[in-house]
């Protein structure tokens, strides 16, 4: 009797969230799913059912649509640069900050600020840095070096990755710091007594016990890679030669530049499935039960 009552109250409390999610998440998702089978211009009152045509176009591309494989290649290229550096960088950041005795919170807040900075603002500033005659090239000029940060197809995505690494390193570092603090000091102490050196302790104790923040970081950074937009929108426009054309940029371009809401929805659906699948795969490969 009592448990039934609790369930009733629980449902009542959860109801506002359910209503909210249905209106602002469930209905748009369902609508997007339906739209992906239609050819529809956002400003047109009519739309035609095209079955799988949008998905076929996505695979092969068209004069105004970038193919799935190009976007996947670009995203994987970005991930290959971004994820290793951001993970190792944020672990290093966490290890360094955890050794600081005074004003630790100032360092943490300082690094964390980048994560909460508006994307448009910091991208504009990085645009100045990466310009042909920007800060980085002016510094390199003294050594006789000029780097086409955004105008070389091999480098554009690397430049974008540098910006996103700067953005995320503080936040991910904080997650690793929390992980470090959860490791009982006695474990390190016992290993030290047994003769383990700093390097061995790091690889055999610290790294395995950081599995939880590692999984969170990998999940977040994979999600971030599939949601890459502001930096591309403002700096590269998907170029040069489509090497920085991402899924989000394609969705935006299709819907709001060309008005192809049906096709844009198909891209959004496929992006969601690939991103979600990759996150599941990463979790399966990396996630471990860890007991301290």
């Amino acid at each position: 009797m009592r448990s039934k009552k609790i369930v009733k109250w629980g449902i009542l409390f959860v109801l506002p969230y359910l209503v909210w999610s249905t209106i602002f998440w469930g209905i748009p998702f369902g609508w997007s799913f339906i739209l992906s089978f239609f050819k529809w211009s956002v400003i047109s009152p009519t739309h035609s059912f095209v079955l799988l045509e949008n998905f076929i176009t996505l695979i092969y591309g068209s004069p105004i649509a970038v193919s799935l494989f190009v976007m996947l290649r670009n995203t994987l290229y970005f991930m290959a640069v971004f994820i290793p550096i951001v993970v190792f960088g944020s672990i290093t950041f966490a290890l360094l900050v955890s050794r600081i005795k005074r004003f630790k919170s100032i360092f943490i807040i300082g690094f964390l600020m980048s994560y909460f900075c508006p994307g448009v603002g910091y991208t504009l500033i990085f645009g100045e840095f990466f310009a042909e005659d920007g800060l980085f090239n002016n510094l390199l000029m003294n050594m006789g070096i000029h780097i086409p940060w955004l105008s070389d197809y091999r480098l554009a995505m690397v430049s974008v990755a540098i910006i996103v690494i700067w953005k995320c390193i503080g936040y991910y570092g904080l997650l690793f710091m929390a992980g470090l603090q959860a490791i009982p000091p006695a474990m390190h102490e016992a290993a030290r007594i047994d003769g383990a050196g700093a390097w061995t302790r790091f690889w055999k104790i610290t790294v395995p016990l950081l599995n939880a923040p590692l999984v969170i970081t990998l999940t977040l950074s994979t999600g971030m890679s599939f949601a890459l937009f502001t930096e591309i929108f403002m700096l590269t426009g998907g170029g040069p030669q489509k090497w920085s054309h991402t899924f989000m940029y394609e969705i935006y371009t299709q819907i709001w530049t060309y008005g192809n809401a049906g096709y844009g929805s198909a891209v959004a659906l496929v992006t969601g499935f690939i991103g979600f699948g990759l996150i599941l795969l990463i979790r399966k490969l990396v996630e471990r039960e860890v007991y301290t």
Binding site: P16, V42, I43, I64, D133, S151, W256, G259
Partner: protein
């Protein structure tokens, strides 16, 4: 404790319902008739539009104009798409170029203005009988009336010209390119400050300006690509020479023309007030775009027209259309055109700009503006085709970018661009 939970559980939904109901009541309350008017988000145009809307609202209390600049976005076209899709589009809209008007007209979003009473008189009064023909839709109607015609010119740094011993800007490609050795400092100073950018509209200011100056007449014609000709290839070769040799920057730069980082660049009249404000004393010389070697001395030089107009959207209630049209006609009065020209510096799209004494004062005060006014008869707007955005993006991807980065020969790039655009246009039916 139990009571507190109960209060919370019932209180939150009740508050939600009450707030929704109160919003509905506010929305349902009768308001005075109102026309929503969106204009280009430009500080000078804002000043002008605020003045004319304030005057209208004072004189027409029965129907108010609610004016706002177009919300910020990558381009006005994208914001307008979003507004129409979400049902928040205005009734009257400016900053619409010819091709975009055709895109909107294709989906029945616009009211044909030539069906409204007094249209012919308005066009005759403004001496724009010839100009308006550029804006006639393939269905025979006029959906957009151009407000201004910005004939794109090239501007040269006077100090650099003096240093080079030139008393006037170079006229031809050869004359300009021969100055490169004396002007260009790698990655610091360029011959032409025109950084490559991939936005679809950017081609108006690089390829098309030079293409029209080289004798090209159409980018698209009769539903097909029309740039694979001598003028197109000559213009594209000129640009490839600039980028290949580092005479123009291949990517974004923070350099400004006014700080002496280039000999020249393309320019619209909207830059005049900014230069005067932020770089007082900076001297420059305006000139038509450079032309191919051997281009006849006395032949007129055509250029691209960055021209935007006003449209009336079909979401306007039937009974409010006459009032909206009255506002449009008033907006195009001679007095308002003079005011527009004074405030924005952008030449109104009128055939009598140089002949009508009403504009003499503005033209005599600012000699730079006179140069732009002179270019009005030779300025060609984008084509009346609903796929201008798509075709210019295809041109950028298939032709222009490979050409800028030297991955294709000019002939190949132009040919590929033509094929891709024709295939796309054919697929649209």
């Amino acid at each position: 404790m139990k009571n507190r939970y109960r209060m919370l559980a019932f209180g939150i939904p009740v508050l939600l319902i009450l707030s929704i109901l109160s919003s509905a009541l506010v929305i349902g309350r009768e308001k005075p008739a109102e026309l929503v008017f969106w204009t280009a988000p430009n500080k000078f145009q804002n000043r002008y539009n605020k003045e004319i809307v304030d005057t209208w609202n004072r004189e027409n209390p029965d129907i108010k104009i609610k004016w706002t600049p177009i919300p910020q976005g990558e381009s006005s076209e994208e914001v307008i798409f979003a507004a129409i899709a979400s049902g928040t589009a205005p009734n009257l809209l400016t900053n619409v170029f010819s091709g975009f008007a055709e895109t909107l007209a294709k989906d029945k979003v616009l009211i044909p203005l030539d069906t409204l009473p007094g249209f012919e008189e308005l066009i005759k009064e403004r001496d724009m009988v010839d100009i308006i023909e550029y804006y006639r839709s393939p269905d025979g109607h006029i959906y957009v009336i151009p407000i201004y015609t910005n004939a794109m010119l090239w501007r040269y740094n006077k100090e650099l010209l003096d240093e080079l011993g030139l008393d006037k800007p170079p006229r031809t490609y050869d004359e300009l390119l021969s100055l490169a050795d004396k002007v260009v400092v790698p990655h610091k100073r360029w011959l032409v400050l025109r950084p490559y950018a991939s936005g679809w509209w950017e081609r108006w200011f690089d390829f098309m300006t030079i293409y029209y100056a080289a004798g090209g007449k159409h980018f698209l014609k009769d539903g097909k690509a029309a740039f694979n000709n001598d003028a197109g290839i000559t213009a594209a070769k000129f640009w490839q020479t600039l980028y290949k040799n580092g005479y123009a920057p291949p990517g974004i730069v923070k350099a400004r023309f006014e700080t002496g980082n280039a000999l020249c660049h393309e320019m619209g009249p909207w830059l005049i007030p900014d230069t005067a404000k932020y770089f007082p004393g900076f001297e420059y010389v305006l000139s038509p775009p450079p032309v191919p070697d051997g281009y006849p001395e006395n032949s007129p030089i055509y250029t691209f027209s960055d021209s935007k107009g006003i449209v009336l959207l079909a979401n306007t209630p039937e009974e409010m259309i006459p009032k909206a049209w009255k506002f449009v006609k008033e907006r195009f009065s001679l007095a308002n055109d003079v005011k527009w020209f004074e405030i924005t510096g952008m030449p109104p799209s009128r055939g009598d700009l140089l002949a009508n004494p009403a504009f003499a004062n503005v033209l005599s005060k600012q000699p730079e503006i006179r140069e732009f006014a002179r270019g009005v008869p030779y300025a060609l707007p984008p084509p009346m085709n609903p796929y201008v955005i798509e075709t210019q993006k295809i041109f950028t991807d298939v032709c222009w970018e490979p050409l800028v980065y030297g991955r294709k020969t000019v002939e190949q790039a132009i040919k590929d661009g033509e094929i891709a655009i024709n295939e796309f246009l054919a697929s649209q039916g």
